[in-house]
Amino acid sequence: MAGAGGGGCPAGGNDLQWCFSQVKGAIDEDVAEADIISTVEFNYSGDLLATGDKGGRVVIFQREQENKSRPHSRGEYNVYSTFQSHEPEFDYLKSLEIEEKINKIRWLPQQNAAHFLLSTNDDLRINLWHLEITDRSFNIVDIKPANMEELTEVITAAEFHPRQCNVFVYSSSKGTVRLCDMRSSALCDRHSKFFEEPEDPSSRSFFSEIISSISDVKFSHSGRYMMTRDYLSVKVWDLNMESRPVETHQVHEYLRSKLCSLYENDCIFDKFECCWNGSDSAIMTGSYNNFFRMFDRNTRRDVTLEASRENSKPRASLKPRKVCTGGKRKKDEISVDSLDFNKKILHTAWHPAENIIAVAATNNLYIFQDRIN
């Protein structure tokens, strides 16, 4: 993993210096479960930024107009609105508790684009909602077996194609992605394409399946590629090639030798998300110890940065971090055993047009932007 020497993550072909902009959230050491951020999403213009938490609260931040007296500082994000999305409920008929956690926020496009939404709250089904019909949905994928004893695979994520409103993909716990076209059939139990990378037999272990489980799938803005996140890597796929990804980026390969411990403490089941930058030239995903990683697809360079209160001085540059994987630990490096596995960055978002990123670290939301030289 080559961290850029002088600091700064290359993205879009230019050398960028990422700087702290803002942090939202309490500083308390004791974090209430309800305050843990569970989703972060910019809207289509990037002027609005929404977060949802496990307590069902949605906070929407709005970007302030740029300050003319400080032309070099981008507009800040301040709270625009806060509301409780839904309360916890108990479904008496099914004897099920419906939790209030916000799983995902999707902004509606302002233009007259797709008016449909996919929901995958259930691991076994994908439902299609029309935005104007909110009391019922249409089931388009159902993988629940007749006999639950035969269940060995679940749906882990799903997303609509950004350009073709009839096409969507869904990922599974076995590391596969299926692309479906709703024009082919009403019930999309047959896929149009099936993406799976052949397993490397030399690295097979009891944990192979678990770490191949895909925690997130995201189309590129162009719609030509999609990205999948599994436990140790992010992979970029060309939609025209199902046999293997066109790119594989290691997020934290040093964890491979620790998989049993991570299985024991359940970290191996952590669901990391990933995102593209506006031009699809860079991708970002989170890791442990409040680290997050960026990969430039053009220059092949990558960088590890940290979201921490210590680096929270206004416009302070983020210094690249490095994990020591063995041998002598250099100054400023952190050893694998010193990583804090309770500080995990699962949710990140990249502004659709500019180099502004939002990173959720447990109950805090960090906003970073590049320094304009």
Partner: protein
């Protein structure tokens, strides 16, 4: 999977002429760690419905892991049928199914008669079923403490009784002699199970060699629940 062609760590003078099983015997650490992983996984499955956020994906992945281990142990011949004198326990030559995933925390009663009857291969193991009901009543107690774990696992045949008798009848000095060729040092669980050795160096070097140089790590909390004697006795049975 974990490489089978392992060098012996302790040369005990016996001939190795029994193929794959012998290779496995020559690496007591592997089967120990595999058993430990199996135990850990089964405990996790029991506690699945006690999570704050029920997670079907996690449950399915754990169940699949258990299935993989059981398949391998069945192929090795180390997954043995329970001795007939364990009353009320069904034979454990079946694979664990994911039926356990269907049960919510509110189902306090044990599963119905449909289970445990001869549908192969997806029947629920008694192992999962009975402790589950009991775990609900006493969530803190270890599954293994409640249910005579060694018998449930099915990996200790009749000869176990003989071994215990032997142990009882020996003088203290003889008991030590009986255990003298057992290497009780703690192996790096991660190194063995993931097939990746020695942390610092990636690659697939011979596991036993690396184990010899790997620093001993303190046992994890879940491994502590398995008494040292369990491990020792298991080695004796498999030798």
């Amino acid at each position: 999977m974990f490489a089978r062609g392992l060098k012996r760590k302790c040369a005990d003078g016996e001939e190795d002429g029994e193929g794959a099983l012998a290779a496995l015997r020559a690496a007591p650490s592997y089967s120990l760690q595999r058993q430990s992983l199996l135990d850990m996984s089964l405990v996790k499955l029991q506690l699945c419905h006690m999570l704050v956020e029920p997670n079907l994906c996690r449950s399915v992945l754990i169940a699949n892991t258990v299935r993989q281990i059981q398949e391998e142990m069945t192929q090795d011949g180390t997954w043995r049928v329970t001795a007939p004198q364990t009353v009320g326990r069904a034979p454990l030559d079946r694979l664990v199914s994911t039926e356990i995933l269907c049960r919510s925390a509110r189902e306090a009663e044990p599963p119905g008669p449909g289970l445990g009857d001869g549908h192969a291969p997806d029947m629920v193991s008694e192992l999962c079923v009975v402790p589950s009901a009991q775990a609900l009543q006493s969530p803190q107690s270890s599954v293994w403490e409640v249910d005579s774990p060694r018998e449930n696992r099915g990996s200790f045949p009749k000869s176990l009784d003989q071994i215990f008798e032997t142990l009882d009848s020996k003088t203290p000095g003889a008991v030590e002699e009986l255990f003298s060729d057992v290497d009780s040092s703690y192996y790096d669980l991660d190194a063995v199970l993931t097939g990746m050795v020695g942390g610092a160096k990636s690659g697939h070097s011979d596991t036993l060699d690396a184990l010899a140089s790997a620093p001993a790590l303190p046992p994890s909390s879940s491994c502590k629940d398995l008494g040292e004697l369990d491990h020792v006795v298991e080695i004796l049975v498999e030798t």
